[in-house]
C-alpha cells in the first residue's frame, strides 16, 4: 500500500494513498465532479474535459481524471468559473449529439444535461450539427447496435475492449467531427467482436446499446434489480438482473465486486433468455404406455416414493443411485446428497465432475491434499509466469482470461501447451503443440530439463516434499531418459521449445499452472496431472502467493457440489466415508441412527451406468444432468438407461435424457431460487431469486425435501435456504465460518473455519493438506495410448467447447443471441488433410469411430495438426460422444473424451 497523503478539496481535508486518481478520490469524498470519459476500470483519457478543477500552483484548469494526488495539494472542485466552463463544454458536446431518448439504457450525458439545465435546445449556445454528419448506425452485430449520432468520442468503448477485456476489436476512423467508432474492418458483425458487451456497459451516452429486448425494456418499468451469480461457467461472475413484468430483460455486470468487477462474457450478458423459454417443463410428467402424461405433484411424488422404496426393499439400497447437478446450488446439492444417503441409504451419488476434473482432483488430493484451485482469480494477472495447459481459457473461462490478457500486457510470461490452437496462443510467449495423448512425455521432458540444469529448488524439496531428496532422486531417475530430443520424437514439439518452456516456468519469481480438460479427459488423466504437480513441487512454484495450480471449473457450481458431499467416497467437506468419527457427527446432526449412515463407498457416474447395464443398479434419480449427451460411449449409456426399472429426471427442459425417464419433474433455473454457488477460486457467492418458477415448477431442494418425507425419511422443516446452509456449514469444516449473511455483498473463499475468519485466498502457504503436511511426488512413465490410428480410422478426434455454447447447450441454444453467433456443429481439419481426402469447407460429412457415427460439417483450419480433428460437443444433432470411448482412467474413472480414432466419410 502506498503512503497516505493529505490534501484539501474545496477547503475539506482529505487523505488518500499517494498517487490515487484525483477524480476518483474526490467522488469518494462526496464531490460529485461531472465526467463522461472517466471510468474506474480504465486508464485516464481526458477527452471530455468536464472534470476540470483548479490546483493551486498549476496553470489553467486541469482534468482531474489525469491527476495523481500528492501531499499538500490545494484543489478547487466547484466555483462559478469551473461550473460555467463545464456547462459551456457540455453544451458543445451536446451539439454533436442526437438527444432522442427511448428510456432503454442509462444515459450519463442526459443526466448531466439536466443537471446543467441544458435539456432544452433553445437554452444552448451551440446549435445542433449532428444532423449534417454522414453517419450510418451499424446494426450488423447480433447483440448490439452502434449509433454514431449519439457518440461523443469519449473512447470508453475502445478502452473497455482493449484494457478491460483485452480483445482489441475496436478503434476509430476518419477525423475531426466526422470520426466514429469501428469494429474490425468497419462492420461490427463481420469483426472479431465476440459480443461480451463490455462496451455497452461502459458507454455513457447510449451510442452502443443492447439489441436483445430493446423493444421491450423500459427502465422506468423495471420492477426489481437482483444481484446474483452467473449460471454458466465456474468463474462465478456477479450479475445484476433487471426484471420487468416478471421477466428478466437485461443482465449487467456488477462493478466493484470480485471475481469479475463488472466484466461479463457473451453468455453472462445475453444468455438468460432460456429462463422464459416456452419449452420449459411446467408440470410433472409420468410415462404411461410410452407417452408422457401431465400429472399432479402428489401423484408423481407418490409414484416415485413407492417405486424407489420397493426397489430398495427388493434389491437393497445399492440398487439405487443419484446424479447430482453442478448447475444447482449448494443448498440443492446438499439436500440431494442427504436425500440419497438417508432416503435411498446408499453412497451411489456422483455427478458430472467425474467427466471433467475427476482426474485433476484425484491427483491433487493424493499429491497436495486439496482438489481445488490454489489461487484467487486476481493472481492470473499478477503472477510472473502462467502455464496454460489443455485449457482453452478464452473460450471456456472468458473472465479469468481477461486477467491473463491484462497480465500479458504487463509482461507476464505465458506458456501455452495445447495440441490445438486456441485464442490465448496469441498472447503467449511460447506455444507448444504436442501430438494428442503425449502430455506425460512432454512434461517429463520439462522436468528432465529442469533437473539437468539445476533449476529445481532443493530447499523446497527438502522442507516440503515427503521423503525430500530421496523422492526427488526417484523422479530424477525416472525422467532421465526424457531428453528434449527423445521427447521431440514422441510429441513433435521442438527440443528448443521444451527447454525454453522449462526455463520460463522454473526460473520465474512466481509461476502458476492453469490446467484444463485437455489434461484431465484422457485415459492418462491422473498421470498427466501428477506430472504437472511433480514439476510444480520440485521447482517450489507453490506455497506462496501467485504460485500454485488452478483447474478453472467448467460449471457454475461444480466446485460447490463436491464441497457439499455429492461424491461417492466422501462426505461434505472432503471427509472420506471411511472416517467413522465424522460419520457419527453427521448422523447426529442429521438426526438419524449412526447405523443407517451408509459406510460403503459408492459408484461413480460411469460405473453407475455400467452397473445399470449389468442390472445391478435398478433405480436412478437424475437432477439437472444430461448424461445422454455428456457421457462417453453414448450407445452404451442409452442401453443402460433403457435397462433401468425406474428413472426419474428432474430438469428445466426436455433433454436427450428425459426421453428415457419414467417420471419427469419440472425444476427451477438459477434465477428462480435463493442459495449459493462456489466458484473456481473457492469463493462462496450468493444466488438470489429474480423471477417465479413457471407453471407448477418447483425449487429443486423443495422437491427432494417433499420426496424424503414420502419415503419415510423426513428432513427438518427448513425455513429458507440460509437455514440449509447453516446445517451444511455444521457438517463441512471448510465452510463452517460462512453464512448467507456474511456473503451478502462479497463472497468468501474457503477454507473459512470460523465466523471471524476472513477466508483463504491462497492455499498451501504453510503446509499441504495431506496427512503429513508435505507434498508427494508421483513419478509416472509415458505409456502409448491404446487407441491409435490405423488405415481404417486414420484420424485422432479431439473434442471441446466453444465460447458461445455451454456444455449440452440445454440453456445456451435456447437463447437467440447465442444462436446467432453459431448454431451448427462442425469438425476442424487441417488444410493438408482436407485436400488429401478431398473435402471442402462447409461440406456435410459422416465421422465414424468403432463406437458410432455422426453427421457434421467440414471446417478447414490450421488450428489442428495434420492427422488430428477437433469437434465442439455442444450440438445434440451431432453427438460427439457417440464416437468416444468409455475406457476409463484407472485412478479417477474419468473417460477419454479427448482422443478417439475416427474416419471421415463423404456421404455424397
Amino acid at each position: 500500500m502506498s503512503q497516505s497523503v493529505k490534501f484539501t478539496i474545496d477547503d475539506k481535508q482529505v487523505s488518500a494513498p499517494w498517487g490515487s486518481n484525483l477524480l476518483k478520490v474526490a467522488r469518494e469524498n462526496g464531490f460529485n465532479i461531472p465526467s463522461l470519459c472517466y471510468h474506474h476500470k480504465l486508464s485516464a483519457t481526458g477527452a471530455c474535459r468536464l472534470c476540470l478543477v483548479k490546483i493551486e500552483g498549476t496553470r489553467g484548469l486541469v482534468a482531474s481524471c489525469t491527476v495523481k494526488v500528492d501531499e499538500g495539494m490545494i484543489i478547487t472542485a466547484f466555483d462559478d468559473e469551473l461550473e460555467q466552463t463545464r456547462k459551456y463544454l457540455l453544451d458543445y458536446l451536446l451539439s454533436e449529439h442526437n438527444d432522442s431518448y427511448d428510456n432503454t439504457y442509462s444515459d450519463e450525458l442526459r443526466d448531466l444535461m439536466f443537471r446543467y439545465g441544458l435539456n432544452k435546445p433553445e437554452d444552448r449556445f451551440f446549435k445542433p450539427i449532428w444532423q449534417n454528419l454522414k453517419f450510418q448506425p451499424d446494426k450488423s452485430s447480433p447483440v448490439l447496435t452502434y449509433d454514431p449520432s449519439k457518440c461523443i468520442k469519449c473512447f470508453r468503448c475502445i478502452k473497455a475492449c482493449d484494457e478491460v477485456q483485452g480483445k482489441n476489436v475496436l478503434s476509430f476512423t476518419d477525423r475531426g467531427i466526422n470520426s466514429y467508432i469501428i469494429a474490425g474492418n468497419g462492420v461490427w458483425g463481420e469483426s472479431e467482436c465476440d459480443g461480451c458487451g463490455e462496451c455497452i456497459q461502459l458507454c455513457p451516452t447510449g451510442a452502443i446499446v443492447e439489441k436483445p429486448n430493446r423493444e421491450v425494456i423500459k427502465l422506468d418499468k423495471v420492477a426489481r434489480k437482483i444481484i446474483t451469480t452467473c449460471p454458466y461457467c465456474g468463474v462465478g461472475c456477479q450479475i445484476e438482473l433487471l426484471v420487468q413484468d416478471g421477466k428478466i430483460v437485461r443482465s449487467n455486470g456488477v462493478e466493484g465486486v470480485s471475481p469479475n468487477d463488472g466484466r461479463l462474457c457473451v453468455k453472462g450478458r445475453f444468455g438468460y433468455e432460456f429462463v422464459h423459454s416456452t419449452e420449459r417443463l411446467t408440470k410433472p410428467l409420468i410415462k404411461k404406455n410410452g407417452e408422457f402424461i401431465e400429472s399432479t405433484w402428489d401423484e408423481a411424488l407418490n409414484l416415485i416414493a413407492s417405486k424407489f422404496t420397493s426397489i430398495k426393499n427388493e434389491f437393497g439400497a445399492d440398487a439405487l443411485a443419484g446424479y447430482a447437478s453442478a448447475k444447482c446450488t449448494n443448498e440443492d446439492n446438499y439436500i440431494f446428497q442427504k436425500f440419497i444417503r438417508t432416503a435411498f441409504g446408499t453412497n451411489n451419488i456422483d455427478y458430472c465432475t467425474r467427466l471433467c476434473h475427476a482426474s485433476t482432483v484425484t491427483a491433487m488430493l493424493k499429491s497436495i491434499g486439496d482438489g481445488a484451485g490454489s489461487n484467487p482469480i486476481e493472481d492470473f494477472e499478477t503472477t510472473d509466469c502462467l502455464l496454460i495447459i489443455g485449457n482453452n481459457i478464452i473460450d471456456t473461462h472468458p473472465i479469468t482470461a481477461t486477467y491473463v490478457k491484462k497480465g500479458a500486457t504487463k509482461g507476464q510470461k505465458i506458456i501455452v501447451i495445447d495440441p490445438k490452437w486456441t485464442p490465448i496462443a496469441r498472447y503467449a510467449s511460447i506455444w507448444l503443440q504436442p501430438k494428442l495423448g503425449t502430455d506425460v512425455a512432454l512434461l517429463n521432458g520439462i522436468v528432465h530439463v529442469i533437473i539437468t540444469n539445476g533449476w529445481h529448488n532443493i530447499n523446497f524439496i527438502k522442507e516440503r516434499v515427503e521423503d525430500g531428496m530421496e523422492a526427488f532422486k526417484v523422479l530424477e531417475q525416472l525422467t532421465s531418459k526424457y531428453t528434449p530430443e527423445y521427447v521431440e520424437k514422441i510429441t513433435g514439439v521442438d527440443a528448443d521449445k521444451i527447454v525454453l518452456a522449462a526455463k520460463l516456468y522454473a526460473k520465474a519469481p512466481t509461476a502458476m499452472i492453469a490446467t484444463g480438460m485437455g489434461m484431465s479427459q484422457q485415459v492418462t488423466g491422473t498421470n498427466n496431472v501428477f506430472c504437472l504437480l511433480n514439476m510444480m513441487l520440485i521447482t517450489g512454484q507453490v506455497g506462496r502467493e501467485r504460485c500454485g495450480i488452478d483447474p478453472p471449473r467448467g460449471q457454475n457450481n461444480v466446485q460447490g457440489a463436491t464441497d457439499v458431499g455429492c461424491h461417492p467416497y466422501m462426505l461434505s467437506g472432503y471427509i472420506p466415508i471411511s472416517d467413522e468419527k465424522n460419520r457419527r457427527k453427521v448422523a447426529d446432526i442429521w438426526g438419524i441412527p449412526f447405523e443407517s449412515m451408509p459406510s460403503k463407498p459408492g459408484l461413480t457416474t460411469v460405473e453407475i451406468v455400467k452397473a445399470a447395464h449389468e442390472g445391478k443398479v435398478k433405480g436412478l434419480f437424475i437432477m439437472g444432468e444430461n448424461p445422454m449427451l455428456t457421457d462417453p460411449n453414448l450407445n452404451h449409456t442409452e442401453e443402460a438407461l433403457r435397462k433401468l426399472d425406474f428413472l426419474v429426471v428432474q430438469d428445466i427442459f426436455h433433454t436427450e435424457t428425459t426421453r428415457f425417464a419414467d417420471v419427469i419433474l419440472p425444476a427451477s433455473t438459477w434465477a428462480e431460487k435463493n442459495g449459493t454457488f462456489v466458484n473456481s477460486d473457492r469463493r462462496v457467492l450468493m444466488v438470489r431469486k429474480a423471477v417465479d418458477c413457471p407453471g407448477e415448477a418447483r425449487e429443486d431442494w423443495k422437491i427432494l425435501h417433499e420426496l424424503a418425507k414420502r419415503m419415510g425419511k423426513p428432513m427438518p422443516n427448513y425455513k429458507d435456504e440460509s437455514e440449509i446452509f447453516d446445517e451444511l456449514a455444521m457438517v463441512t469444516p471448510i465452510l463452517a465460518g460462512i453464512s448467507h449473511k456474511r456473503i451478502e455483498v462479497h463472497g468468501i473463499q474457503w477454507p473459512c473455519p470460523t465466523s471471524d475468519h476472513p477466508g483463504t485466498s491462497t492455499l498451501y502457504i504453510d503446509k499441504f493438506n495431506t496427512s503429513t503436511g508435505k507434498g508427494k511426488l508421483f513419478p509416472v512413465d509415458y505409456v502409448e495410448q491404446n487407441e491409435r490410428v490405423d488405415s481404417e480410422y486414420p484420424f485422432l478426434l479431439n473434442s471441446g467447447r466453444i465460447l458461445y455454447h455451454y456444455h449440452s447447450s440445454t440453456m445456451s441454444r435456447k437463447t437467440k443471441a447465442l444462436r446467432d453467433f453459431i448454431n451448427q456443429s462442425y469438425v476442424l481439419i487441417n488444410p493438408i488433410d482436407a485436400s488429401k481426402i478431398k473435402v471442402n469447407n462447409g461440406q456435410k460429412v459422416v465421422v465414424r469411430s468403432k463406437r458410432g457415427q455422426l453427421e457434421t460439417f467440414i471446417k478447414v483450419s490450421d488450428e489442428v495438426l495434420e492427422g488430428e480433428l477437433f469437434m465442439p460437443w455442444h450440438f445434440s444433432e451431432s453427438q460427439v460422444n457417440r464416437l468416444t470411448r468409455d475406457e476409463l482412467d484407472p485412478y479417477s474413472k474419468i473417460a477419454p473424451f479427448k482422443l478417439s480414432a475416427v474416419r471421415i466419410e463423404n456421404p455424397e
Binding site: N168, L170, S171, T173, R175, I182, G184, N185, S191, E192
Partner: protein, 154 residues
Amino acid sequence: MDVTTILKKYPKRRDSVIEILHEIQNHDPQNYLSEESLKKVATHINLPLAQIYGIVGYYSMLSLNPRKKFVIQVCKSPICGMLGSQSIYDAVKVKISARPDSANLFTIEKVECLGQCNQSPCMMINKEIYGNLTPQKIESIIEEIVISEQNAQK
C-alpha cells in the same frame, strides 16, 4: 511485389505501419489497400484490424477504394478553401468528363492540407504538386497528362 514480400522487409513493430501501408498501396495495381492486405498487416504487426482500418481512414493519402493510375488530390484546407479550391475541384471534374477517353486515367479526391499554403490553391497528382492553380491551368495540366499517356500507348 506482393504483400507478403513487402511485410518481410519490415520489423514487426507498430511504428512501421504507415511505411508498410504506403509501400503496399504503391505496389498495388489499383493503388489502394484491400481488406486482405489490411488483415495481413494486422497479423504481421500484431495490431487489431480495427486500428489498421482506423489509420487508413484517418490519412487521406491512404485509400480503401481502388483508384486509377493518376490520383488527383485537391487540397481542402482553409487557406486553399478561401482561395477557391472548390472551383479547382469543379474544374477538374468538368475537364475529365469532357474527355471520356481519359475516364480510366483519373481518380479525384479532396484531401487534408498538402502543406503548400504559399501557393494556394493547390493540388497533387500522384507525387507532383501543382500550385497557384486557376481553372485555366487545370485545363492544360490534365490535357498534358492525357496526351502524354496516349503517346506512351502508341
